[in-house]
């Protein structure tokens, strides 16, 4: 198991994995989301290559109502 942070919460995952693999656990259409790993935006085309490793800080955001 490795420890990462997702949206400010500590999360344990089985092993280092790609962003794409990590997002498979989320029931939101992927084009409604944007992802940062360690404060850098990950382009959707790079979800397969971008790995999430021990200690990484992941943010997954979407759009909500706002003014």
């Amino acid at each position: 198991m490795i420890s990462i942070t997702v949206n400010g919460r500590d999360v344990n995952i089985e092993h280092p994995m790609s962003v794409r693999e990590l997002l498979e656990t989320v029931e939101v259409p992927p084009n409604y989301l944007a992802v940062e790993v360690n404060a850098e935006v990950v382009a959707r085309e790079a979800y397969g290559e971008q790995m999430v490793n021990e200690g990484d800080d992941v943010e997954v955001v979407t759009l909500v109502g706002g003014g």
Partner: protein, 279 residues
């Protein structure tokens, strides 16, 4: 002859409606969708927030916004530093890029300085504006009604400066129309097509009309519609106020006079003037 005009251009975007409306604070997504429709807007703002990955079950706003009809304008609302606002802007750009929405290249920049008044932090806003403009964003910049800050933001590369009428969500209307007039004069001097958008503080339709009568190019509002007793009816009122205010501005109001001037001819009237009034 009625003065006709070209549609408003902000950055690289041409807007059919001069009303930009927010999508927040509605009771339901359906009410939001119907209010957007009634407002006649073709540009709507959205916010970037953490996805609630572990407590899901809610609806996504994107299921209620026709992306072929509306250009989304992502905001950086709730950010208090330039660094956070830049992050939010880049995340919003990535979502809109993957959605194929034209709004991917612009952002409504909002960097707050005080959580009670929601007034902007001018130095952080200028810093973020410059950085985002350098990164290729069309920056629509929320600011106070301070003419000096407005000039700094334009110089920092803002595609549009958006002074507040009054604090966000306060419904107080335009508290300092003199400052707004000075901003319009300064920013449009030698650059008459530079878009100045009145953002925030609108309470009701007359505030929208007033913003346009002053010469504002567009009005951005959210709460005045979303929290009206009947949001859909208020959205329609705002649409008409925008058209009325803009038309009145283009038509040119009469000067104010201290004394009355009769609309009906004085010649041929059957009248006596008992108190010695002179003609």
């Amino acid at each position: 002859m009625t003065q006709s005009e070209a549609p408003l251009v902000v950055g690289g975007h041409t807007l059919a409606s001069r009303l930009i409306v927010g999508t927040g604070r509605y009771d339901t997504m359906q009410q939001m969708r119907d209010s957007l429709d009634a407002s006649g807007a073709d540009c709507v703002t959205v916010a970037v927030r953490r996805e609630r990955l572990y407590e899901r079950g809610g609806q996504n706003i994107l299921d209620f916004i026709d992306l072929d009809r509306y250009t989304l304008l992502p905001n950086t609302a709730g950010c208090y530093t330039a660094a956070d606002a830049i992050r939010a802007a880049k995340l919003g750009r990535e979502i809109l890029r993957t959605l194929g929405n034209p709004g991917a290249d612009w952002v409504k920049l909002e960097v707050l300085g005080d959580s009670k008044t929601l007034l902007p932090d001018p130095t952080e806003t200028v810093t973020a504006c410059r950085a985002l403009a350098d990164d290729g964003f069309q920056v629509l910049c929320y600011t106070s009604d301070c003419p000096v800050t407005a000039q700094r933001l334009k110089a920092a590369g803002a595609a549009s400066v958006m002074p507040a009428g009054s604090p966000i969500g306060s419904g107080q209307g335009l508290l300092n129309p003199n400052n707004l007039q000075i901003i319009l004069e300064y920013l449009k001097n030698d650059d008459p097509d530079y878009p100045v958008i009145i953002d925030a503080g609108v309470g009701t339709a007359s505030d929208v009309a007033q913003a346009f009568e002053l010469g504002g190019d567009a009005v951005l509002l959210n709460t005045a519609i979303a929290h009206a007793r009947d949001p859909i009816q208020m959205a329609r009122a705002m649409k008409h106020a925008a058209i009325a205010g803009r038309d009145a501005y283009l038509a040119g109001r009469i000067p104010k006079r201290l004394y009355g001037t009769a609309s009906s001819p004085s010649e041929g009237v059957i009248s006596t003037r008992p108190y010695g009034s002179e003609a």
